[in-house]
């Protein structure tokens, strides 16, 4: 059923709130009172509720079924997290109210820091990054700050990034002022160690570091990771590890033990905070001894006299005096995604050290089960066990006339959200399936049965798949049209045309 836009159903005179009448005071806006209204339509509460509830039903969601978006870690979002985040003591406190009135909030931050440091083995963590990519930026900016300290920021500008990396990696490196050099992928889906060695041969005085995802975007553990770490360290660079896939190894491997210098952690992936239709996330970034002091503002300290927590907010000489802190600057207005911190800490306490280990193991078991169940009808991209996600190429579709996208849309008609498609780029027509640990075996079996049936149809060249989905709220959408003639907002002309 079609749901109109608020602009079609609301009016500027309608409102879903009741407010006291203003007193009619003379304004003190310096002559800048808005003359034309905003034109924003309002709806009464019943209308607004219905509009958004109806719209919501056009979405697929974890709570409705398996959501196997590879590299996104769509696990169950516990409702206890939501309840805790809404406690007034967390939701109704201001980032700039007197610090003695928010000691409980700072204790949450301190406890979460402690978990993150122990789980990664790292000595420090920067809490302000607001999402994974922001955390990448934090790590790379810390490396840059260290290079400034070493007087090498002008010379060490080369960052090695595997071809299989997520797009945020090269984008981040460039945003931090570095140049990207791609490392080839080996046929086993991992970094081509020979290519890396070749690129680190000879003069390495321009090497700033490497950005490596581990487990990588092919769903594989980089088995040479320690050698890679050693190589980059020998070259005078730093090892940035993209922590997007930490879910596969949490509790089983500590990144510090692999030689990592910086790694962001997506609280909304590994630690179950909701993805919310595109955020908010949170990307705390753990840092090695060498990078710890460059963590951005605000920096949390503990007052040695009374044990009170304190945040150093800005570059205040008085407060920094006597510390060895050299913050790289400030990444956002306040101190990170507090609402995600409360949720993630709640999750960690719920699972405990034992449960988090089980999380990793079940996530990997589930992915391997899918790989095993489907390997005869589809084409696993690489041999051997995978980690937390199973990767297939489109080799099995050869000569069928069917493409990866058709498989994806076919899965929609089976009642599932499709897997990640066409990523990583190093695999042709890639299909990256991440079930996560919160799926039952029965659910995995149903999913595999469905995917298997779609794959068999596809192999047989079933033309119907090319127009799938048929059973979704909408048919295939014209993305080309959207990009060619962008309509990015409502205008009053649109409603007139429609009528």
């Amino acid at each position: 059923q079609k749901e109109e836009l608020i602009f079609d159903i609301g009016t500027t005179e309608t409102t879903g709130v009741d407010l006291p009448e203003p007193k009619g005071r003379k304004d003190r806006l310096g002559g800048l009172k808005r003359q034309d209204g905003t034109g924003l339509p309002g709806l009464s509460e019943p209308q607004a509720m219905r509009h958004y509830v109806r719209l919501s039903q056009k979405n697929y969601a974890i709570d409705l079924g398996l959501f196997p978006l590879g590299s996104c870690t769509m696990k169950h979002n516990p409702r206890l997290n939501e309840k805790v985040a809404r406690m007034p003591g967390f939701a109704d406190i201001h980032p700039l109210q007197p610090q003695q009135t928010v000691q409980g909030a700072m204790e949450v931050i301190e406890q979460l820091e402690d978990w993150l440091k122990k789980l990664t083995g790292m000595p420090a963590v920067a809490m302000s990054p607001k999402a994974g990519a922001h955390g990448e930026w934090c790590g790379m900016a810390a490396i840059r700050a260290a290079l400034i300290d070493r007087g090498e920021v002008e010379t060490r500008t080369r960052v090695l990034v595997p071809a299989s990396a997520h797009g945020t990696n090269p984008a981040t490196a460039v945003q931090c002022g570095f140049k990207v050099q791609e490392i080839a992928a080996a046929t086993d889906g991992r970094v081509d160690l020979n290519d890396l060695k070749a690129k680190l041969e000879g003069d390495t005085s321009d090497v700033a570091g490497i950005m490596l995802t581990n487990p990588n975007t092919c769903g594989l553990f980089e088995r040479d990771i320690k050698e890679i770490a050693d190589l980059i360290h020998e070259a005078g660079g730093y090892f940035y590890c993209d922590g997007a896939n930490f879910n596969a190894i949490v509790g089983r491997v500590r990144p510090r033990d692999l030689g990592v210098d910086a790694m962001h952690i997506n609280l909304h992936k590994t630690f179950s905070t909701p993805h919310g239709g595109g955020g908010p996330g949170a990307g705390p970034t753990v840092l090695s001894e060498r990078l710890a002091k460059y963590a951005p503002y605000p920096v949390m300290t503990v007052d040695k006299r009374d044990g009170d927590y304190k945040l150093i907010y800005v570059d205040d000489e008085a407060e920094l005096a006597g510390t060895d802190l050299k913050p790289l600057g400030r990444m956002c207005a306040f101190h990170g995604q507090m609402g995600m911190f409360t949720r993630a800490l709640t999750y960690m306490l719920s699972h405990g050290a034992d449960g988090l280990k089980q999380v990793a193991e079940d996530a990997v078991l589930n992915a391997n089960y899918i790989q095993a169940r489907l390997k005869s009808v589809m084409s696993p991209a690489f041999e051997g066990y995978c980690m937390h996600e199973a990767l297939f190429s489109d080799a099995f579709l050869k000569d069928s006339g069917i493409e990866t996208v058709d498989i994806a849309k076919g899965m929609i008609d089976e009642g599932y959200h499709p897997m990640t498609v066409y990523f990583p780029l190093v695999v042709h027509g890639a299909m990256l399936i991440e079930p996560t640990e919160t799926e039952s075996k029965a659910e995995l079996d149903r999913f595999c049965d469905s995917l298997e049936s779609v794959a068999i149809k596809a192999k047989s060249g079933d033309e119907a798949l090319k127009s799938a989905p048929y059973l979704a709220p909408m048919r295939r959408l014209d993305e080309t049209l959207a990009a060619r003639k962008p309509v990015l907002r409502w205008t009053s002309e649109m409603s007139q045309t429609a009528q």
Binding site: K58, A85, K226, L365, L477
Partner: protein
């Protein structure tokens, strides 16, 4: 463990299907020296809901909420009332537990609300287009600075002394890594126009804030003209989006990019985040915009639908040539914004903004009447600055003892800037006449 559906029998059967002996097999690529066996030490084992809720509840109880008494803290985050229906909407499983709408056929709920969000932001700011949200106002501001540099191919950014110190620093941190020069003017209560003299041929943009961090409302038109005369852009910043219900929008004053914080609408204070960054710009700058954008299109049956579009700007397509590295944004906070704004409509927003302004007028009058208090903001929306003979930190602590959380000391944002005795105080629809009177009384006693 309550979130893990696999039973021991499931695990055994699955291992058999896979042909593995134990899960350890899957971790064979982990260097032996890095393999852990038991659970990581120094951390507690799993606990039930009751225990966890008690633990977190005890921490929450240590904080003093903004609703417990007279509360006047603003400076980039504002205490407003959010209708209960907003939280109901964002807690819908279908919004809460889905992700970036990569598959539009089964994500029209998210996509249509994003389209509504973009439209609302454009209309509020008086701009032509807006994106699907940034992390918060400060990161939106830094992205706007970078965007201006890309658009103008220049590498110099001038930031007014009225811009929130944290925003200015966020801009500086982001720009400097890319070799962009950032000039931050000294803090000033009412001098956004000082920017005018900084517009040069190498200036990418002037960045002005109105209402500024001290509260002052400024006509940005002359600044825009000065910028445009040098082919530079005007980036306009706000931290209180409710002000747009009452104040001439930046779009009408010539701004090229408008950024700001959307927290006030739909989102709780939450100790600083997650919030929602708003970013709007002129149509001609759209391909320099960072972040996700949703656009209208049709499906195979010709029905109107929405998709993410213009992705050739983005990291997942353009990689090292992307306009930004942003991926996850503030989707759910943007939905809260949109739902709340839909409940308000023009009428509700305008009324809300007026109530905020009147509360601040009442506050200004009440405090200004006290001996020793000098109001530093002649024009304002819902936030004012004042100076007293007393150091502001001590003053606020004394007020606190009397049950009034009186605002933010300016020196917390601008240390060593000669603002030691200045307090910045905000008033919203949540501040009652009694609370304002209590503030005035407490301040009188402290200063007596």
């Amino acid at each position: 463990m309550r979130y893990l559906p696999l039973t021991p029998e499931d695990r055994a059967q699955m291992l058999q299907t896979i042909g593995a002996k134990s899960v350890d097999d899957f971790y064979q690529d982990v260097p032996e020296s890095a393999r852990l066996t038991g659970p990581i030490e120094g951390l507690p084992m799993h606990q039930g809901e009751l225990a966890v809720e008690r633990h977190m509840g005890a921490l929450a109880a240590k904080n003093r909420t903004a609703s417990e008494g007279p509360f006047f803290v603003g400076c980039g985050a504002y205490k407003h009332h959010v209708p209960a229906s907003v939280d109901h909407i964002i807690q819908r499983s279908e919004f809460l537990t889905t992700y970036t709408p990569y598959q539009p056929e089964i994500a029209q709920g998210t996509l249509q609300t994003v389209f509504e969000f973009q439209s609302q932001v454009a209309m509020l700011t008086g701009m032509e287009v807006a994106n699907a949200s940034m992390y918060d106002g400060s990161t939106a501001a830094s992205e706007a600075a970078l965007m201006a540099c890309r658009a103008t191919r220049r590498k110099k950014v001038i930031v007014s002394g009225g811009v929130h110190a944290h925003y200015a620093e966020t801009i500086r941190t982001a720009c400097e890594t890319q070799g962009i020069e950032v000039v931050i003017l000294p803090p000033a209560f009412d001098d956004e126009k000082a920017l005018i003299s900084y517009a040069e041929d190498d200036t990418a943009c002037l960045i002005a804030q109105s209402p500024n961090v001290f509260g002052t409302v400024t006509d940005l038109t002359p600044i825009a003209e000065a910028a445009h005369a040098k082919k530079a852009l005007l980036v306009s910043v706000f931290t209180e989006v409710v002000s747009l219900g009452l104040i001439t929008p930046p779009g009408e004053m010539g701004a090229d990019i408008v950024v700001g914080e959307g927290q006030s609408i739909g989102n709780p204070l939450g100790f600083g985040g997650p919030y929602v960054g708003l970013l709007a710009c002129r149509q001609k700058l759209v391909r320099q915009m960072p972040g996700r954008v949703c656009g209208q299109t049709v499906d195979a049956d010709g029905k109107r639908g929405f998709v993410l579009t213009l992705s050739t700007r983005e990291q997942h397509i353009r990689r090292d040539k992307a306009t930004s590295n942003i991926c996850t944004n503030a989707g759910l906070c943007a939905l809260a914004f949109t739902a709340h704004m839909t409940l308000l409509g023009d009428k509700g927003l305008s009324q809300l903004a007026t109530l905020n302004h009147e509360a601040a007028c009442d506050l200004a009058d009440a405090l200004d009447a006290i001996d020793g208090v000098t109001l530093k903001t002649e024009t304002f929306f819902n936030e004012i600055s004042f100076e007293t003979p007393m150091e502001a930190g001590a003053l606020l602590a004394a007020l606190d003892k009397k049950g009034v959380i009186g605002g933010v000391r300016a020196s917390r944002l601008f240390p060593r800037a000669g603002l030691d005795n200045v307090v910045i105080a905000a008033a919203t629809e949540c501040n009652t006449a009694e609370g304002i009177a209590a503030y005035a009384q407490a301040l009188k006693e402290v200063l007596a």
